[in-house]
Amino acid sequence: MKPDRLNALTDGVVAIVLTIMVLELKFPEEATLRAVMAVLPLLGAYLLAFIYVAIYWNNHHHMMQSAKKVTGAVLWANHSLLFFLTLFPLMIRWIDEVGPTHLPVAAFGLVLVGASICYLLLERALIGAEGDGSGVKSALGGGMKEWVSFAGYVVALPVAFVSPLVSIGIYVAVAILWLVPDRRFEHRA
């Protein structure tokens, strides 16, 4: 089976996820600096979630450039990844309601852990579908970045119950790690 429809569905879902997140944003209630300050945490959460969803889409896009074949396992791994990506707008809304406190910040980490596990499963499934000569496999190499970010989220999750700000710092650090372009696939395209 070819990957074209899997890509089309993923693009559709990711486009809608990115777009509905903005519905959660609020205007400052009055024209004072204090009112503007009050919406800043929400704006920050929106920005971080937007960057994360964009990172997943970018990586997905790059990886699927090398993929020639998909199987049922690939479709399911991808669908699981989409499930976690759809939870980002919910996380934004939660942070909006109760602020960047223990629970929503930990939940943000849980969504990131879920998404990164699914992404790793998707990589495995794509390699499994294509066998040893897989273009995805040779381009990925050891998958170091994936494991470093996964470890980051796993650490950040319990830390959120002690200090949400430290967890947020870890999320931002991992995001920056991914903003450095992933040249593994570009060389091959």
């Binding site: 089976m1 070819k2 429809r5 899997l6 089309a8 569905l9 693009d11 559709g12 879902v13 486009a15 809608i16 996820v17 509905i20 519905l23 074949k69 199987t71 049922g72 396992a73 479709l75 399911w76 669908h79 989409l82 499930f83 759809t86 939870l87 707008p89 919910l90 809304r93 939660w94 309601e97 109760v98 406190t101 223990h102 629970l103 929503p104």
Partner: protein, 190 residues
């Protein structure tokens, strides 16, 4: 007619269906783990609905991969299928408002039954639109999962009137059946 636009249209509609469901989910208003509990049921309903819509997308994907062409009847059957599928977010919202009750479980079962039946109609339309040697002919000869699904929902609907949770268990069991990989199909279209 080629299959590309019916695929693109379906992918668009399904992408919107599975994504807008998240708008129905509430967030806990208070801090602390206890505030999470009332939201857990709706979250489970969301996860089940997400899996169900995924399963229907897979079936659509498989049927269309095995087809070479579509005709007007296929397009109508496809629209009929998308109509029932688009009601899934509506039921999720209803579960959010009313909880897992007899009525909401019944409604979910009825919509799932109509989705399963409309896939069967779509399959028949594709079969008629394609030549006898197209992969869809071989695929349709092995439609056991589809039949089992329809039977399971026909059984689950009256059960939902008496014991909603038993019907919910049947819905999960049907989902589990579809999660089993189908290697023979992959060989069919490669």
């Amino acid at each position: 007619m080629k299959t590309d636009r019916v695929n693109a249209f379906t992918d668009g509609v399904i992408a919107i269906i599975i994504t807008i469901m998240v708008l129905e989910l509430p967030v806990p208003k208070a801090a602390g783990m206890a505030a999470l509990k009332p939201e857990a049921t709706l979250f489970a309903a969301y996860a089940l609905a997400f899996i169900k819509v995924g399963i229907y997308w897979f079936q659509h994907h498989h049927l269309l991969q095995a087809s070479r062409r579509v005709d007007g009847r296929v397009l109508l059957a496809n629209l009929f299928f998308l109509f029932w599928l688009s009601l899934v977010p509506f039921v999720v919202r209803w579960v959010g408002e009313a909880g897992v009750t007899r009525d909401t479980v019944l409604a979910f079962g009825v919509i799932m039954l109509l989705c399963a039946m409309s896939v069967a109609i779509l399959r028949a339309a594709l079969l008629a639109a394609n030549e006898a040697d197209a992969p869809i002919a071989k695929l349709a000869a092995r439609g056991r999962k589809g039949q089992a699904t329809i039977i399971a929902y026909i059984i689950a609907i009256p059960i939902a009137l008496m014991w909603p949770m038993v019907a919910v268990a049947i819905y999960f069991a049907v989902a589990a059946m579809w999660l089993m990989p189908d290697k023979s199909f992959e060989q069919l279209t490669d």
